[in-house]
């Protein structure tokens, strides 16, 4: 592979000749970053007539290191068999790999293996909770599940910044149960108005569903404050950790949330797999959603009893190879050290904000400071539609996302129909940010617009 020239990050770097190692609490050195990039085969390719790829769309989906690709390949070439059934050696190996994957993902986010339910993606994880609550509202799950039941007048609280995946399932749950949807607003700075927790959250609040970090603004939510308010009123907290887990150290037990939805493909893992974290006692009390094979105990023609969690929520054939791949991603990030990853990306966040601020006529959608934010920067270019911005950047080999990023209400709140978004990951370099900044400066002139703000 031929990584681009890499700059020293954050002023801390290893002395020349130091063996490239993995450290827990400092940013990546130039050599470490080069080593990381060498792990991602796709980053070596060129696009649009030979230009080096500058991949700034990791908030949409991340690229995959060799260890993830190899883990799936290894599973299919060596261990593939149906899991949790069969008495043969391959079945044992496949089941062991599947359950080891659960342990590895759990350990990565500070949870117990029995608190991790495999889902096809994070959207499915959130829907699983919402539909389980719907089933509990219909009386399913008996007395134990009553704590999940909603009646008219109950309230579900979301935020104006949510990805549609953490909004629409709750709208639907309200429609099915007669509960009322309320929401925490977003300030002009793009951050959540958490002061509204005092007024929006009340005694009727049963669920607070919020993202750990916005996929548009990159703003990181003060989760302990949300959890503290939820505890005061006995509400459950459902946390969307899709954007935080790949970029920050996340300890779900320490955060004290009740449920969390994870995405495999955003954390360097494969597509087609995600996970729902649920506190053990909650999963034990929750009725199933998707029913069928593998999630049962005793089935008669009249009646069925259900398996303990997490299997109760894993009906049908599971995405075994993808789970194994997701676990490889978790181990990869864990070995890099999430503190170091976060510190590296904090440097990139500052550089991205700076690059955008230097270009006249460009406005950041969301906080303009680097405090409590990810290296995710959405922006608009005055007089140029985001789609056209993305097209010009693409011609320079730069991949950004354009559109509303599945967050229409947030865009509406911030006064724009859509935006362009540059988002980084552990493999993003300062050099790439510089290429991005230079290309961004060509956008307005390309469309015959001046350089004035």
């Amino acid at each position: 592979m031929t990584p681009g020239p890499v700059q020293t990050l954050g002023g801390r770097h290893a002395p020349a000749g130091e063996v490239v190692g993995l450290r827990a609490s400092a940013s990546l050195t130039a050599a470490e970053l080069a080593a990381v990039r060498a792990d991602f085969p796709l980053l070596t390719r060129t696009v649009r007539g030979g230009r080096p790829l500058v991949y700034l769309d990791s908030a949409a989906t991340s690229q995959k290191p060799d260890v993830v690709i190899d883990a799936e390949l290894e599973f299919y070439t060596r261990h593939n068999a149906a899991v949790n059934r069969g008495a043969h050696q391959l079945a044992e190996e496949a089941t062991t790999a599947f359950e080891q994957a659960r342990e590895d993902v759990a350990a990565f986010v500070g949870a117990e293996p029995g608190e991790i339910v495999w889902t096809s993606n994070a959207t499915a994880a959130i829907n699983l909770v919402a539909y389980a609550m719907g089933n509990a509202s219909l009386g399913r799950g008996g007395a134990a599940a009553r704590r999940f039941a909603l009646v008219p007048g109950d309230e579900i609280v979301v935020t104006e910044a949510e990805h549609h995946a953490n909004l629409v399932p709750w709208q639907e749950l309200c429609a099915r149960t007669g509960a009322t949807l309320r929401w925490i607003g977003v300030g002009d700075d793009g951050r959540l108005r958490l002061d509204e927790l005092a007024t929006v959250v009340g005694e009727r609040t049963k669920v607070i569903a919020v993202s750990h970090a916005s996929n548009v603004t990159g703003a990181v939510t003060d989760v302990p404050r949300v959890v503290a308010r939820a505890r005061e009123v006995g509400a459950l907290v459902v946390l969307d950790v899709c954007q935080s887990v790949p970029h920050l150290p996340v300890d779900l037990h320490a955060l004290g949330v009740d449920f969390a939805a994870m995405s495999g493909h955003k954390m360097l893992g494969p597509t087609g797999v995600g996970a729902l974290y649920g506190r053990r006692e909650l999963l034990e009390a929750m009725p199933p959603v998707t029913t069928g094979g593998s999630m049962v105990e005793v089935v008669t023609m009249e009646h069925t009893t259900y398996a303990a969690p997490p299997q109760r929520f894993e009906a049908g054939s599971q995405m075994v190879a993808q789970s194994v791949g997701m676990a490889a991603a978790a181990r990869y990030l864990g070995e890099l050290g999430m503190a170091g990853v976060a510190e590296h990306e904090a440097v990139i966040a500052v550089a991205l904000l700076d690059a955008v601020a230097r270009v006249p006529g460009v406005r950041v959608i969301g906080p303009t400071d680097a405090q409590d934010r990810l290296a995710v920067v959405a922006f608009t270019v005055q007089g140029v539609h985001p789609h056209d911005v993305g097209q010009v950047l693409d011609d320079h080999g730069i991949a950004v996302r354009v559109g509303h990023h599945c967050a229409q209400p947030l865009h509406r709140r911030l006064g724009v129909p859509s935006s362009a978004r540059a988002s980084a990951s552990v493999y993003t370099t300062l050099e790439e940010v510089a290429v991005f900044g230079a290309a961004l400066a060509t956008v307005r002139p390309f469309f015959g617009l001046g350089g004035k703000k």
Binding site: R48, G49, V384, H385, P386, H387, D388, Q391, V392, D395, V402, G403, H404, Q408, H411, P417, S418, F446, F447, G448
Partner: protein
Amino acid sequence: MSTAMEQLYQQLILEHAKTPHGKGLEADGQGESFQVNPTCGDEVRLRVHLRPEEPVIDHLSWDGSGCSISQASLSVMSELVEGASVPTAENLGATFRELMHARGKGLDEESEDRLGDATAFTGVAQYPARIKCALLGWAALRDALVQAGAVSTPAGAPATTEENP
């Protein structure tokens, strides 16, 4: 800049995007359509103004927001169908859709003559993600004509979704 980019953003397209024809919704009109592109949030509301007692488009009026390709396409389309009979407009729409599926290779001379300025969008067809931008206005026109009762929708091909999946 690459050649493909030059073909995509032809001067004519950039000019139409800057000073679009037909923009500004007028009060009357026999049929109206509202179309959105769900992937990028672009939207247009378009009205067709027919001549009295005649199946001829007097003019279009529209309002919307979107990228330069979608805005320029609406503008060029508005010029193109002004004074055209409804069947002629339908034909132009069909030819334009053909052009969008020609992968940037263009059409025969006769078709391109009829499309006039709309042939400037030939390069759009090299960027699959942008084809729907160019077709947004044409989808609105077809739907507005259906709403006006000027054409009927072919069975199984609702005008509102076919162009804009």
